[in-house]
């Protein structure tokens, strides 16, 4: 098939970007979306132009590197899949495709389709973990965990940190990301000692990083390549409410909507 692409090109964070038109020719149905971009990039390189910068690594939908807004939808039209798992059989000859980076204040553009998602790492660094010093731990079977909770924790832990939830949200909120982290750890007995601090600190850092508030659009769930449920946002809000009623200074509870 032959396609017309309109790709966001932006040389650096400080210069203005814009769409540039390219043609992708003789693309196989079986090629992946990123392989289609590879083909375009090979041609650009051969003609001495700079190839389109886009992020990718494992190309199996698990590392969370890739992320393109395709015709307005983060990760494109296929439900529950990352950009790298999208194959060209979802398109037909003559289609026009607009390709953009994640758009969010907290994710500044690095170049073309590549953005800086360091904000998500910084959220984790303020407490999105269980403190378990190497070696100072009991036997793995010392604490049985109800299967149902373990499964639910796993559902939340499936998050790959790609940031599609932020890109999909009209408010550019990172609530689904934070909710997944807080729920994964908060559902497990090992996560209880730090549960309250965790929820407060993560939400506070989300605000500091410039993410918006959640106003229940649920676009995040629809865009999530791991289909993480917004039920976890309800869980986060419940934790946040209980915790803030219990003991917390006001400045730490902003933003969760």
């Amino acid at each position: 098939m032959n396609l017309v692409l309109h790709v966001w090109r932006q040389a650096s964070p400080t210069v203005k970007g814009g769409f540039v038109r390219y043609e992708a020719k003789d693309i196989s149905d079986h090629a992946s979306f990123l392989e289609m971009l590879d083909i375009v990039n090979e041609e650009l390189t051969e003609s001495g132009e700079e190839p389109i910068a886009f992020e990718h690594d494992c190309r199996e939908g698990i590392c969370g590197s890739c992320g393109l807004v395709i015709n307005g939808v983060p990760h494109g039209p296929q439900h529950g899949a990352a950009t790298c798992q999208l194959h060209m059989r979802h398109y037909k000859d003559g289609d026009q495709i607009w390709i953009e980076p994640w758009r969010a204040k907290a994710f500044p553009v690095v170049k073309d389709l590549v953005v800086d998602r360091g904000a998500l790492d910084r959220i984790v660094q303020v407490g999105g973990y269980i403190s378990a010093r190497t070696g100072a731990v009991p036997d793995a079977n010392a604490t049985p965990i109800r299967k149902e909770y373990a499964e639910l924790a796993m559902d939340a832990a499936a998050c790959i940190g790609c940031g599609a939830c932020v890109a999909a949200c009209p408010n550019a909120s990172a609530m689904l990301f934070v909710a997944a982290k807080v729920s994964h750890l908060g559902l497990l007995p090992q996560g209880q000692p730090e549960r309250r601090d965790r929820v407060l600190n993560l939400v506070a850092q989300m605000d500091i990083e410039g993410f918006g508030s959640c106003t229940n659009h649920a676009e995040c769930e629809a865009a999530c390549p791991k289909q993480i449920s917004i039920d976890f946002i309800a869980r986060l809000n419940r934790d946040l409410l209980v915790t803030s009623l219990a003991q917390t200074p006001e400045h730490m509870v902003a933003g969760a909507g």
Binding site: D57, I62, V110, V124, R133, P138
Partner: protein, 637 residues
């Protein structure tokens, strides 16, 4: 160059305890006066950096990805082994040790493997405490499954995302230390060379992949945790960014490279669909627990799978290996698949795969059980191929996956360069000539959490907290070399893209040093690779500037190193005139077509010393002795 494995004396069960007691410790108050560099943030790198940070060292951790959480350990699906014996099925440390030495076809160091089995149990404890959501039984205890090459159920797993969950656990530990200020993290920063002062590793030169700035970082010790080099084949299951640059640059600076030809071809990957393809996708080998592998008995049988009756199917692994059946180790399963396809009995449009069929398990267990066990893998398969594996059998074919070879290390995981430690897939130590399933995650975390943090203290205590900074002249000299090399790459301005040359190298490597090797093919490879390398430096085109985000330049630098490594791999494969594990020399096989080792001549580790590009490297041999697992031919019949 002298290879001293430093394996402690005494019974194998006591060696690690003995060594730990011998190791010098660094005074707690002094730890912050030491800086340790960790390159890579996968299971090995993240767990090492976090553990060293907890101990109080100043740690600098580098990764090429935009976040430490994206390292390629994340893609491991199936599981992680440990000798917990929670299933009461006769497992023990000794059995895990025995299986790993035997599975590695007697080309690993016994003492290292025993230690790996010993600490395997600590890893599971550690991960559970961090909140890794392993699969559980209804009683709330941990579940296990059996995995390729093992007759006990010792594999712990988190759906088909075990690597991701373990890495997130290690990433959390790392994030905690970054938050505490003991670890300084440098994402999007690629190590381009190692810096030695007075023969000791004292730092690295890196490139900031956003600004293109080249800079130096000094330390008292450098730890490489940069993974494997399967991307030398272009097509592999590795992430696109996985590369050999860090270990290859260290090799050029004097670190011996051990067993470079020991590569693992994974049996269950999705066959190639076309020319444009950029990588191969692995399907977890756990699928072999419930899927049956077959091809049509007759060549040219083009009927759809469902129309081929059992009588016309060849379940070749079950036929050849009745006791292990579809669970034979990876090297054997891969080679037998290649034979079936080479024999003209391949399946799929390009006749380049074999079937992995779930019909019988779906009938026996029900679709819901299969869905619970493999749901995400089935979805992944359907997305890529457009075929529904609940209805038609999967098609699979082997692909380069893991490299058992890597930088030579002693029992302390120190390379032949003092102060340079190598952990995880980047070293050679534990898997011999073939790695068993679910053992890579185990080794990465064993090295990072439970071995390196002890052994490195011995080295640090000996060198002392001397002043170290990157103003030393050695750093400037290496920085200039690194910058010159990039300038050269940008200035060639030829006609070919990096990927076209990489594909060419990959094809040569696959033909010469892939699943089946022979003298003739290897000699041809050794002739052709230097030619490709020469053309690379004349014909490559790298657009853009060095002082910028430039993915083409990153790829070009990595390929330049693969072009040197490929030659060493062929040389090693040619020299090793035996078949062992993943290294299958067609000239050396038993009448039944199994790998035929030559323990008289080749029971050693090949450690190669760099002598210059295009110049023959020097071979050093570390003899291997087997006192606890008697040498025998592997049999999975």
């Amino acid at each position: 160059m002298e290879l001293d494995s430093k394996v402690p004396s005494g019974p194998i069960q006591e060696k690690w305890d003995k060594r730990k007691f011998e190791l010098k410790l660094v005074n707690p108050a002094n730890k912050r006066r030491y800086t340790v560099i960790v390159v890579g943030s996968g299971l090995a790198g993240a767990s090492a950096a976090a553990s060293l940070g907890e101990l109080g060292y100043n740690v600098k951790c580098f990764c090429y990805q935009d976040s430490a959480r994206r390292a390629h350990s994340i893609a491991a699906q199936g599981g992680i082994n440990a000798a917990k014996n929670y299933q009461n099925d006769g497992d023990s440390i000794w059995r895990l040790f025995y299986d790993t030495v035997k599975g590695g076809d007697y080309r690993s160091r016994e003492a290292n493997v025993y230690r790996l089995a010993q600490v395997s149990n600590n890893i599971i404890d550690q991960c559970v405490a961090q909140g890794v959501p392993f699969a559980r039984e209804y009683g709330g205890l941990l579940a296990n499954r059996s995995f390729g090459g093992a007759q006990v159920s010792r594999t712990f797993y988190a759906r088909g995302q075990t690597g991701q969950q373990l890495l997130v656990g290690a990433y959390h530990a790392l994030a905690k230390e970054i938050g505490n200020g003991t670890v300084q993290m440098f994402p999007r920063t690629e190590m381009l060379d190692l810096v030695l002062i007075d023969g000791q590793a004292r730092g690295i030169v890196v490139r900031d992949m956003v600004t293109g700035r080249v800079s130096s970082h000094a330390a008292h010790a450098v730890v490489l945790a940069t993974g494997g080099y399967s991307n030398v084949y272009f097509f592999s299951t590795n992430a696109k960014g996985c590369n050999t640059t860090a270990i290859w640059r260290a090799h050029r600076r004097g670190a011996a490279f051990a067993n470079p030809c020991f590569t693992q071809i994974h049996p269950t990957c999705i066959p190639r669909a076309g020319e444009y393809q950029s990588k191969l996708t692995l399907m977890s080998e756990s699928l072999r627990n419930d899927g049956r592998i077959w091809v049509p008995k007759e060549q040219g049988d083009h009927r759809p799978a469902a129309q081929i009756p059992d009588a016309d199917r060849d379940y070749y692994l079950e036929r050849l290996y009745p006791s292990f059946g579809n669970l034979t180790p990876r090297d054997i399963a891969s080679r037998r698949a290649k034979e079936a396809v080479d024999d003209g009995r391949g399946v799929g449009a390009l006749k380049n795969g074999v079937y992995l069929d779930f019909r019988d398990s779906i009938q026996r267990l029900g679709k819901s059980v299969i869905e619970e066990r493999y749901g995400n893998l089935f979805e992944m398969y359907e997305r890529i191929t457009g075929e529904n594996p609940y209805a038609v059998p999967m098609r699979i074919y082997p692909a380069p996956h893991y490299t058992m070879g890597g930088l030579w290390v002693d029992y302390d995981l120190q390379s032949t360069i003092p102060g340079l430690f190598v952990i995880g897939e980047a070293n050679f130590s534990d898997h011999g000539a073939n790695r068993l399933g679910a053992s890579a995650l185990m080794q990465g975390l064993a090295d990072g959490y439970f071995v390196l943090p002890y052994t490195i203290s011995d080295y640090l205590a000996r060198v002392g907290p001397t002043k170290t900074d990157s103003t030393h002249g050695a750093f400037g000299a290496v920085e200039r070399e690194v910058s010159e090399r990039m300038k050269t790459l940008l200035a060639v301005n030829g006609k070919r893209t990096v990927d076209t040359i990489h594909r060419e190298l990959g094809q040569v490597m696959w033909d010469a040093c892939g699943m089946a090797r022979s003298r003739g093919a290897l000699e041809k490879g050794l002739e052709v690779i230097p030619e490709i390398r020469e053309r690379f430096w004349k014909e490559v085109r790298v657009p853009g500037r060095g002082e910028d985000f430039n993915q083409g330049l990153e790829k070009a630098g990595r390929l330049a190193d693969f072009l040197e490594l490929g030659e060493l791999m062929c040389r090693d494969a040619l020299h090793r005139e035996e078949s062992s594990g993943g290294h299958f020399r067609e000239e050396f096989q038993t009448p039944e077509g199994e790998a035929k080792r030559d323990d008289e001549r080749f029971a050693f580790v090949s450690a190669w010393e760099f002598t210059g590009v295009g110049s023959a490297p020097t071979l050093h041999a570390e003899p291997l002795t087997f006192e606890n697992v008697p040498l025998s031919q592997r049999s999975y019949k």
